[in-house]
Symmetry: C2
Subunit: 251 residues, 2 copies
């Protein structure tokens, strides 16, 4: 059976302006990969309702799970919850349990309208617990809405993932070679043709000013990965370059 898929919608002007470099995609992709869920697309859109609606509808239709990051705080530029509600034609309503949690978290004099708006979520959505700063995320259909701040998002995702239906864990094995990828290319092409169940990627790099190439073998079957790596080791011996096997790792 093929693995479930996931997409990520990153919502935020600060990523598109270049001010902030997103690191959530990498974290989410690796955690999901370990659970056997393969990330197959990501999109980054600005804080504009129509753009969020268009993107979340497209991704919800094309992947098993959608995750969103960003735009669920208390300020005017936090429009994710309202946009998701509009995307699925449901009203945005004050969630009583979310309000209770927020009122329990803030001292009474610090509760204000802006903070309580973080309890407004689409009708029918269920909450995603936030063990760091209380304000919850939510799940509506196959869309999982998370905050953009990594130290808050990460523990929320860690709690969420065990509730999802996954698949065989995705694994990768990296072999680093002291040779330019242009020299390896013909052999790699044949290797990929004969090891179809393993995704073989070639990534050029440098060490001490000399070219090196990382070959990444990725898949769900450790024995198929092992077979492809052994075939690559044969290629290395033929062409005569050194290859350092960095071992199997979760994605």
């Amino acid at each position: 059976m093929s693995n479930p898929t996931a997409s990520l919608l990153i919502i935020g002007n600060e990523i598109l302006s270049g001010r902030t470099i997103d690191a959530n995609l990498s974290y989410i992709a690796r955690v999901l990969g370990t659970a056997g869920i393969r990330m197959t697309e990501a999109r980054i859109v600005p804080d504009i309702e129509a753009r969020i609606i268009e993107a979340v509808r497209a991704l919800a239709a094309s992947t098993t799970y959608v995750f969103t990051t960003g735009g669920i705080g208390p300020t005017h530029d936090d429009i994710t919850a309202a946009s998701i509600a509009r995307a699925f034609d449901v009203p945005l309503v004050r969630n009583a349990e979310a309000e209770r949690r927020l009122r329990a978290y803030y001292p009474p004099e610090k509760v204000n309208d802006a903070r309580l708006r973080m309890a407004d979520i689409p009708q029918g959505a269920s909450l995603i617990d936030n063990p760091v700063s209380t304000a919850p995320g939510f799940v509506l259909r196959n869309v999982h809405v998370l905050p953009g701040v990594p130290r808050i998002m990460q523990p929320m995702l860690d709690l969420l993932v065990p509730t999802l239906t996954g698949g065989k864990p995705l694994r990768s094995r990296t072999v680093v070679c002291d040779e330019a990828e242009g020299v390896l290319a013909d052999g790699l092409r044949q290797l990929q043709a004969t090891h179809g169940s393993v995704e073989i990627g070639s990534y050029p790099g440098q060490r001490d000013g000399r070219p090196e190439t990382s070959i990444v073998f990725r898949g769900t079957d450790p024995r198929a990965i092992e077979a492809a790596v052994l075939a690559f080791a044969d290629l290395a011996r033929q062409i005569g370059f050194a290859a350092e096997d960095q071992g199997l790792a979760p994605l």
Copy 2:
């Protein structure tokens, strides 16, 4: 006149698997912003022809300029040039000038079929010079195809941008406050409503375990940005928090 827009298509399994954190979006967005071109969307897709075709067509129709990164090297997983050709229904052909450059760059014994495939580009495309490693990028219609390796991509983009029609430079000014954004939210909402030409973003953070908030004022009119910042300073005096103005910067 409104600014031209740009989108970025990041092509690569290594980004979607979480193995590599993309930093090209941030660099490209900042260089374009300085030239008055606003990044309005980014997508990340795997090394699959149909997915590249679908994304590049959508982005070419919705933004003034499209940039792509990744997938133009010599190996089997480098399928960007062929995919762009298919997206616009033109043949992929060996470009004589690109071949001449590659043959001049590599010692004769290092020229091979795989490396010469880097001279195969869509018919009618023009070359983007590569001052680092020779293999060129290309422009077809409004699509600008660049490599994924940052130290090669960056100087190519720097040479390319002056050839594009830009607009008024995008600028930002950041004010950091020693207050949680939940306290600032109501005032910021009013501020945004009365300073519509300036995009006001609020980004929560921490310093020494205490909450702080970065307020980012972004736009093309330095006087409008200045006016919004002064209005925010009034707000700071009213609420009674300290605000450190980090000054105007190119985006």
